[in-house]
């Protein structure tokens, strides 16, 4: 259980720019260390997406809960949030005395996030996708480009998934 929360603590520090940049890293850590099977990971990602709240926190809570109940869920969630909490504290203490160029930092983050999201996407795709799933994914991609609301896409694809499985 401590090993699990150590993973989320570490990944918390890397979680810049929205949850999707760290999902790939989480997959490597969780599936690579045998904590989740690839199928369980797929399920966890889907659950995290259809539940309110940030995807990465939801993943942390769910993984903790699945194996260790409520206590594991609390511990995991807090571990993942330790990094932002620590950094917010540092900012409060330093006040405006930091000399970081905001625009440059934003640019550097964007570049780094691009790499992380790319890694996430590849690791999501590597999960035994059948032709039908790939077809749905491509459809979902083009719908987001046309500014269809993501929730509509997520639940629409879920509904199609039900129809197809019956």
């Amino acid at each position: 259980m401590w090993r699990l929360s150590a993973i989320f603590l570490k990944v918390g520090f890397l979680s810049f720019g929205g949850g999707w940049s760290v999902v790939g890293v989480l997959k490597n850590e969780l599936v690579g260390n045998g904590i989740l099977t690839p199928e369980e990971f797929t399920k966890a990602v889907s659950i995290a997406q259809v539940t309110p709240g940030p995807v990465a926190i939801n993943l942390a809570t769910y993984t903790g809960y699945k194996d260790y109940g409520l206590f594991g869920a609390v511990l995991n969630t807090l571990s993942f949030l330790a990094a932002p909490i620590a950094i917010v504290l540092v900012i409060f203490l330093l006040g405006s005395r930091t000399k970081i160029d905001k625009e440059r930092w934003a640019g550097a983050l964007k570049g780094t996030c691009t790499v992380m999201v790319f890694v996430t996407l590849l690791s999501l795709i590597r999960n035994h996708l059948d032709l039908w799933t790939i077809f749905l994914s491509i459809g979902a991609f083009f719908l987001t480009l046309r500014k269809v609301h993501p929730l509509l896409i997520v639940f629409g694809c879920g509904a199609l998934g039900i129809l197809f499985s019956l």
């Binding site: 929205g18 889907s46 940030p54 550097a108 570049g111 996708l129």
Partner: protein, 171 residues
Amino acid sequence: MLHRLFFLFLKVSTLTLGGGYAMVPVMKWELERAKLLEEEEFLKILSVAQAIPGPIAFNTAVLVGKRLKGVAGAVISGLAVILPPFFAIVLVAEFINTFRESVALRGFLNGVYAAVVGLVASVLYQFVKSQKWSLRKTIMLATAAAVLLIKSSLVVPVVILLLVLLYSKGV
């Protein structure tokens, strides 16, 4: 004031499905409506929230809480954002456990997973589109991605190195 903050963030967090980025505009709207924070101030806080690690919705809430009501405000606001998803996950996990054998549930989750792959692809597309691409930057990012794909355990050093390089070169 503290309880107003708490219930405001609790409400936003409960009612917004679809991750942190969906939550931020709703937060902005609610804070302006409650006359707690002006737009300009909110955008300033948002830019800090984006520059530090952690879920954007959580960071924003904590910083807004701190700005309005000090440390107590920060703690209250942070809690209000994480409580609803926490209990939602616990409920859903129980529900899923009960219907583990259901073919329909599995179909639903597979469909959602397909949508997620599409959404992540479009997040990547937005990132790529919103940047200027010099040759040097392309090479740096491609090298980092290649290293991560070959040896994923190097993620911490690769991310730190990449951030430092990109920042110091200003690319």
